[in-house]
Symmetry: C2
Subunit: 555 residues, 2 copies
């Protein structure tokens, strides 16, 4: 059997934060049977992906090898791990396994796209296991900022592999299972071939703090507040939502959940039995009758998302509720890099209303859901793997995590998206490089990140757009003058001359002196008109717009 | 003289960080003689101002009152205070006063636009003063992260006003003047009517640290480095550039300055006598002959700017220099909110090369140039003004600064851009609201932020663009079929049908059944074609593109 091998292949998440998608395989080279771990999304931004709705890993390689895929396992219900299950289902058609809460969320996604709930199977935690070709896979509970997060224990003919998923070491997580060192030690006692391990917080030097550490500070803040209190956090952080709600209840406030995701997550957590003893909530309608000093709203939009409850409250009313001077708004969250401007915008809007905003700059109102550097060390030492392969992180995180493993006596292996690692021997090696990338969901269509669609949008955003129209008669002679339509360009350029007129005058002169051969040659005429328009605009306004040339021939 | 009044009017900077522009006036209402303090820029971003080169405050009000402007005073040479002097000179035509270093930078800007150097006059620090109508104005040195930063002491018939400019309380700033409490106390001893005061760091609770505190940590870092060391900071932070260069020299490294701004600033600082004893620098050409462990490059690009030296080094070579595994890159800077993605991008590029990146997360390699909360308190107490008016900050900073003043017994006044404050009496009041906004420099043209140009660009970036062309003959009958040109849109939609073909088919059907009245009515036809194109695209690809309709009539 020496010709069979165990492979690990990250398709997304190993080179970025978000968009997690990992593959394990076992079998003869090129014929390994495969399992997929997580199918998550990343979020677009104006700088690199304007107009795009969602991003996930390019799964072309999986599509090509679809008949080799045994199953998909989802570690937890965060969007960057589960968000693409429905978008990729048609292409992969593999059974999806998840624990109860995660499955509840995944099934909601599948249902939106018309897939039946059986596409997602519920698998309980260890000792439950699921066979998948040569693999036996079990969910090993671990703490994180969402209920029922789990590592995967993947048993293979080449040994046991542990895929950590996202995690932190939390002994008092509030909702969900605490980190159980005894259980982990037991699972790992016979040796672990490889630990594939979360890396996002490798640069955070201090041990992570427990969810339970937040309660007293939040309670104090809420009980000292005089007006209405509004708090935001990721809706999926059910433990935090409960910590906040409990603080509100203690302060004698009625709890209101606002924003679709907030209601959905709490619903899923209650449905699946993950969440118990959540304070009674009242509807926004009923809240209007309650004095504002007796209210606490828990709302979506911790990242300043324009359509979320927090942003709508900052701009005015939302579901009949309105912030007023003397109210308190709490960000029980951290701002993800890239979202700073959006968050700052709503803080300033609240400031204009006279609302006091408290964020996590004091460190008292939020704890991270990921393992900091000392916590990574703890997990390494509990698992004692032959090899540590960092995943879920940008290149800088993976590289630092490899260094950390190496300095502490574990063999660290740097594997980025597309690197297929052969784990069979004692020294992992790169078996193959697979082409990877990003797929955009744009409206209802999937497009490749490098298809040029988004590049053209960015160019129009930077340079504006001119449509140039000319008509040629049956003899290829100009019929009338060329004209232009401008979008995203100044009306007037140098000397206050209207830009459209200047361009039309230059184009008209060109058409007047153009040779018959140029007028007959569609491509050449098109290119000349484009070039001239860009040059003429450059003279007038100092920039070269994007140009669409429309030549109509009456023939 | 009771009918004369003293006014303060922020046009930019009071509601944002950047784009500083403040006006003071004295005289009969509506006829006050005016001085302008600072004419700075802000920087565009893809989210709100794609394609724009620079942003400055809308100076329409100043243009309308141009004959009332006596002079412009520039507090210091940061772009957000001096960056718009050349762009606004034609409109204002007022003499500009600055201290020597600031004037050197301002004159370089004026020269680029063809204005003579006399447009910027050099005014030494107090006791030098400049008369400007009813005002006598003097520069009072204060420490900041650029040489020769100064507050303005503005003497008016209604009393003395102090405009702090940007500042920190630094007793050992390295380059430039330390904060001189005795001098400040002397200047303020006869009472100060109003302190108009920097607010950017009001949320930073700890006292600011001195530039001098950085030297030892940077020296240790550089002397322990094994490969080449590259450090970046704002080029205008001449003291920091010197701190870095001194550390390099101590470690036996030759210093290389890279990036245009870096060479310019050091040149200006040496020319004006601000900078002395700067270590000898060598050119990039000569550096190639030096072993890399004996080199230290000081480069532009602390904010990850794509064209700056740091980003070019991260992508490959720059001026013949190349980063290699084992080299060290130091960000002796903080990342300005909104620039995180750009900075993280180059950190990851360095990580891929194997370069170790050190940033300021440890707090050891950078200090802020602005006054933290306790330092603001110090200045308040030194100046003991009748009124504190916070400036330079977002709304949240101004509001917090007002609260800080109020709780400590000073009268805080919240004034945002456009609020003209009457400072004459004992209680400042809003005299008038002036319309303010932002002017964009876009290529070589100035456009208003609300002209719709940028809005249209953003729409094209989000939605893509379709050009629809139809030709009508002399009888307003369609001549041939309509056709479309797509930019920034997927080629195929649902069921893999080519989007262009589907749109053309729908448009063709519409033209076939359109009534003669519709075909004759230009606006109506245009609107119908636009509406149909958007609806048809929505069905196919799930989004509505921007549409340019070109109807050609052969008449």
């Amino acid at each position: 059997m020496s010709s069979e091998r165990l492979i690990y292949l990250p398709l997304g998440g190993a080179g970025e934060i978000g968009m997690n998608a990992y593959v394990y395989g076992y079998g003869k080279p090129g014929k390994e049977r495969l399992i997929v771990v997580d199918l998550g999304v990343a979020f677009p931004d104006m700088d690199t992906s304007p107009g795009v709705d969602l991003i996930f890993a390019d799964i072309s390689w999986l599509k090509e090898n679809r008949d080799r895929i045994e199953a998909v396992f989802i570690t937890h219900a965060h969007e960057d791990h589960v968000g693409a299950v429905a978008h990729t289902y048609e292409a992969l058609k593999a059974p999806i396994y998840a624990r109860s809460f995660t499955a509840n969320i995944a099934r909601r996604k599948m249902e939106e796209y018309g897939y039946p709930e059986e596409t997602v199977q519920i698998l309980g935690p260890l000792p439950h296991q699921q066979g998948a070709g040569p693999f036996m896979v079990g969910f090993l509970p671990i703490s994180h900022s969402i209920p029922e997060s789990s590592s995967l224990v993947i048993d293979t003919p080449a040994g046991r592999v542990i895929h950590s998923g996202d995690f932190k070491i939390d002994l008092t997580p509030g909702v969900g299972e605490p980190f159980d060192a005894a259980l982990w030690t037991e699972v790992c006692k016979d040796g672990v071939k490889a630990l594939i391990c979360d890396s996002t917080n490798v640069f955070s030097p201090d041990p992570g703090r427990s969810e339970a550490s937040l309660g007293p500070a939040i309670e104090e803040l809420v009980s000292n507040a005089e007006g209405m209190v509004v708090a935001t956090t990721f809706a999926s952080n059910v433990a935090r939502v409960k910590t906040l709600a409990d603080a509100g209840k203690k302060a004698g406030r009625s709890i209101v959940l606002m924003g679709r995701a907030m209601r959905r997550m709490i619903e899923a957590a209650i449905e699946t039995g993950v969440l118990r003893d959540f304070p009674k909530v009242i509807s926004p309608e009923d809240a209007r009758a309650v004095p504002r000093e007796n209210l606490m709203l828990l709302v979506t939009g911790s990242q300043g998302e324009r359509r979320a409850a927090s942003a709508q409250l900052a701009r005015g009313k939302y579901q009949g509720m309105e912030m007023k001077e003397g109210d308190l708004f709490l960000f029980s969250s951290k701002t993800i890099p890239g979202n700073e401007r959006d968050v700052i915008r709503i803080i300033n809007q609240f400031s204009e209303i006279g609302v006091d905003v408290v964020d996590d700059s004091s460190g008292k109102y939020h704890v991270s859901g990921h393992a900091n550097r000392p916590d990574l060390e703890t997990l390494h030492d509990v698992v004692k793997p032959q090899v540590v392969i960092p995943m879920h992180g940008e290149h800088r995180h993976l590289r630092e995590h490899v260094k950390l493993a190496d300095t502490r006596g574990y063999q660290g292996v740097l594997a980025v998206n597309g690197m297929m690692i052969d784990l069979s021997g004692n020294k992992p090696k790169v078996a193959e490089y697979i082409e990877t990338g990003r797929t955009y969901i744009d409206g209802s269509v999937q497009i490749g990140a490098l298809d040029g669609v988004v590049r053209d949008r960015i160019r129009m955003a930077l340079n504006g757009h001119v449509t140039v129209t000319v008509i040629l008669d049956e003899d290829d002679e100009p019929l009338g003058d060329p004209w232009v339509d401008l979008i995203g360009l100044p009306e007037t350029g140098r000397n206050n001359a209207p830009l459209a007129e200047v361009l039309e005058e230059d184009l008209s002169q060109f058409m007047g002196r153009a040779k018959a051969a140029t007028l007959r040659d569609g491509d050449k005429l098109n290119e000349e008109l484009r070039r001239l328009t860009r040059q003429s605009a450059l003279n007038e306004i100092g920039k070269k717009p994007e140009v669409t040339v429309v030549v109509s021939r009456l023939s």
